[in-house]
C-alpha cells in the first residue's frame, strides 16, 4: 500500500478547504432551495458574441493560438482599456489567460517567492491565500471594516508592511462586499505603496459593474502606479462569459513576459473559440454591458432596500453584484445564520466567513437572479427573522 500522505505535496495538502463546501452539499440534497449564492451572471452570453465563437468553429479555427493570445484580441483589449478606463498599454503588455483566475495565479507566481509577504485585504475572493501559499509566499491579512465601507486605508496598509512585504492584492470592486475604491481612496494608499516599493496585483474582474454614477478607477491610473501594477481581469462578469474561461493580465513588459513564460509551459494558450468570441465582445459589446449594468442596478436597489426593511442592515454596495448585509443583530454567527436559514426557509446564502475571518457577522448575497426570485428569497428571509425574534 502506498502511503499517499507521504506522496502528496504538503503545501497543497495543507490548504484549508473552502468553508462553504458543506453548505453546497446540504443545499444540493434539499429540494426547492432558493439560492442567493451563485457568483456568476444569470444572463446568457449575448448572442452576437456566441455567434462569433460558433463562426470561428465553422471556419475551422480549432488550433492553438500564440501563447500570449491572438494579436487581434490583444489589440482589442488594449483599445478597450483606453476607451473605458483611460489606461495605456501596448498589445505586448497584454496576456490572454484561462479566466481571471489564471491571471491571478500567474501574477503571484511571477512576483512571489519563498519568504515574501503578500498583503491581502479581506473579506475578499477566496483564491489569493492558497495561490500565495503554493508559490511559497506568506499571506498577511488586512481586515477591512464595514464602518468604512470596506475601503483599504493607508493606515491599515502601513500597519501590516514589513521589510518582507512585496505585493499588495487590491480586490476592487470587491467580491463579496460590493465595496469600491474611489480615486481619492487610491491616491491615499499610492504613496505608501511607492514608499515601501511594493507591487500591486489589482483584481479588476468586476470593473464594469459599478453603480450610482460611479466609474471604476484602476490604481494603474494613479501617478507612479502604472509601473508597479499588474491588472487582472476577464470576460466572465463583464459579458456573462463565465463558461468560456477567458481572462487577461496587463502589466509592464518584464512582468508580462515572465507571466507569459509560465503560461506557455502550464497552459500553452487560452481557448481559441473563446478568443474569437472575445474579439466580438470587445468590438461590439459596450451596449450589452450597459444593459446588464442597468438591470443589476435595479435589482441591487431592491435587495439593499429589502434587507434594510427586514432589519439586517446593509451598506450600499457600489460595485460587483453582491450585497453584504450584517446579521449581528440576530445574535447568530454567519455560519449558524446560513445553516438555520437554509434548513428552515430553504434559502441559501454564503457565510461571510468564507471570505476571511473578518467576514464574521455578515452574509454574502448575490443578486444575479430575476426580480421574482429575489423577492421570494427576501420574503422568506423576512419570515425567518420574524420567527427568530418571536422565539427569543
Amino acid at each position: 500500500m502506498i502511503d499517499y500522505s507521504k506522496k502528496l505535496n504538503s503545501k497543497a495538502a495543507a490548504l484549508k478547504p473552502s468553508g462553504i463546501r458543506r453548505f453546497f452539499d446540504i443545499s444540493e440534497q434539499m429540494e426547492n432551495v432558493i439560492s442567493l449564492g451563485v457568483g456568476e451572471p444569470d444572463f446568457q452570453t449575448p448572442w452576437h458574441i456566441r455567434s462569433a465563437g460558433i463562426e470561428s468553429l465553422e471556419n475551422g479555427k480549432t488550433r492553438y493560438t500564440a501563447n500570449r493570445g491572438m494579436e487581434p484580441l490583444r489589440k482589442e483589449i488594449v483599445a478597450y482599456m483606453k476607451r473605458r478606463f483611460n489606461l495605456t498599454y501596448s498589445p505586448n503588455e497584454a496576456l490572454v489567460t484561462v479566466g481571471g483566475s489564471e491571471a491571478i495565479d500567474l501574477a503571484v507566481r511571477a512576483l512571489v517567492e519563498q519568504g515574501d509577504e503578500v498583503l491581502i485585504p479581506q473579506p475578499s475572493f477566496v483564491c489569493y491565500e492558497p495561490i500565495v501559499a503554493l508559490a511559497g509566499g506568506t499571506s498577511v491579512i488586512i481586515e477591512l471594516k464595514s464602518d468604512n465601507d470596506f475601503v483599504l486605508t493607508p493606515e491599515q496598509l502601513e500597519e501590516k508592511i514589513t521589510d518582507k512585504t512585496k505585493v499588495l492584492v487590491l480586490p476592487y470592486p470587491c467580491n463579496p462586499t460590493g465595496g469600491i475604491m474611489r480615486k481619492e481612496d487610491l491616491e491615499k494608499i499610492a504613496p505608501v505603496i511607492i514608499k515601501h516599493d511594493l507591487m500591486v496585483i489589482s483584481d479588476e474582474i468586476y470593473a464594469e459593474l459599478t453603480y450610482s454614477g460611479e466609474r471604476h478607477i484602476s490604481i494603474a491610473e494613479i501617478d507612479g502606479m502604472w509601473e508597479r501594477t499588474v491588472i487582472v481581469s476577464g470576460f466572465s462578469k463583464t459579458y456573462s462569459m463565465t463558461g468560456w474561461r477567458l481572462g487577461y493580465a496587463l502589466a509592464p513588459d518584464p512582468i508580462t513576459a515572465l507571466m507569459t513564460k509560465i503560461h506557455q509551459f502550464a497552459i500553452m494558450s487560452a481557448p481559441t473559440t473563446s478568443q474569437y468570441a472575445a474579439i466580438e465582445a470587445l468590438k461590439n459589446g459596450d451596449d450589452d454591458i450597459k444593459k446588464m449594468v442597468d438591470e443589476y442596478d435595479t435589482r441591487r436597489r431592491l435587495v439593499v432596500d429589502g434587507f434594510n426593511k427586514i432589519g439586517l442592515t446593509c451598506f450600499e454596495p457600489l460595485g460587483a453584484f453582491y450585497v453584504f448585509p450584517c446579521i449581528k443583530s440576530t445574535g447568530l454567527t454567519s455560519e449558524e445564520f446560513c445553516e438555520k436559514l437554509l434548513y428552515s426557509k430553504k434559502v441559501a446564502m454564503v457565510p461571510g466567513t468564507a471570505f476571511g475571518d473578518c467576514g464574521e457577522g455578515f452574509v454574502r448575497v448575490s443578486y444575479c437572479y430575476s426580480v421574482e426570485h429575489l423577492k421570494e428569497a427576501l420574503n422568506r428571509t423576512g419570515e425567518f427573522i420574524k420567527e427568530l425574534k418571536g422565539s427569543e
Partner: protein, 160 residues
Amino acid sequence: MNKKLLKLLEKNARYTTTDLATMLGITEDEVRAQIEEMKKEGLIRGFKTVVDWERLDSAYVSALIELNVTPLPDSGFEEAAKKIMKYDEVETVYLMSGGYDLCVIVKGKTFQEVAMFVGKVLAPMKGVISTATHFVLRRYKELDIVLCGDEGDDRGNFWL
C-alpha cells in the same frame, strides 16, 4: 418621461409600485404620477398578459395576412388601415415597406374561421387588391417572452 420606468414596465407590467419605486430610487407617489402622466401622453398604451394559449385545449389560431391596397390620393393607406383595425379579429396592423402594403395579424378559433374572415371581410374590402394568408404554426417567442419550453437556471451551484 422616465425611460427607465418604461423599460421596467415593458419587461413586467406587474411590478408593484413599491418595487418600482425602490428599483428606480424614487418615491411611490412619483411612480404613480409618472405612470399616469405617460398614460395621458399616450406613451403607455396598455398593459397585457402574454398567454400561451396552445397549452390549453382551447383552440387558438392566428395568421399573418399580406394585403396589397390601392392608396387613396390624399390619405394613402390610412383609410384602409383604420377600417381594418376596427375588427375584433384583428390583433395587429402595420404599414410595411417592400413587397406588400399592410401586414394584418388575425386571430380566431379555427383555420376555417380565420380563412372566412379573410375571404369575406378583408379580400372584398374596397381598395384591397390582393391578400396572402400565412398561418402561424408555432409561436416560439412573442413580445420578448419565450413560449417554447423553459430554459431554467442551469448554473451549477458554483458559489465563489
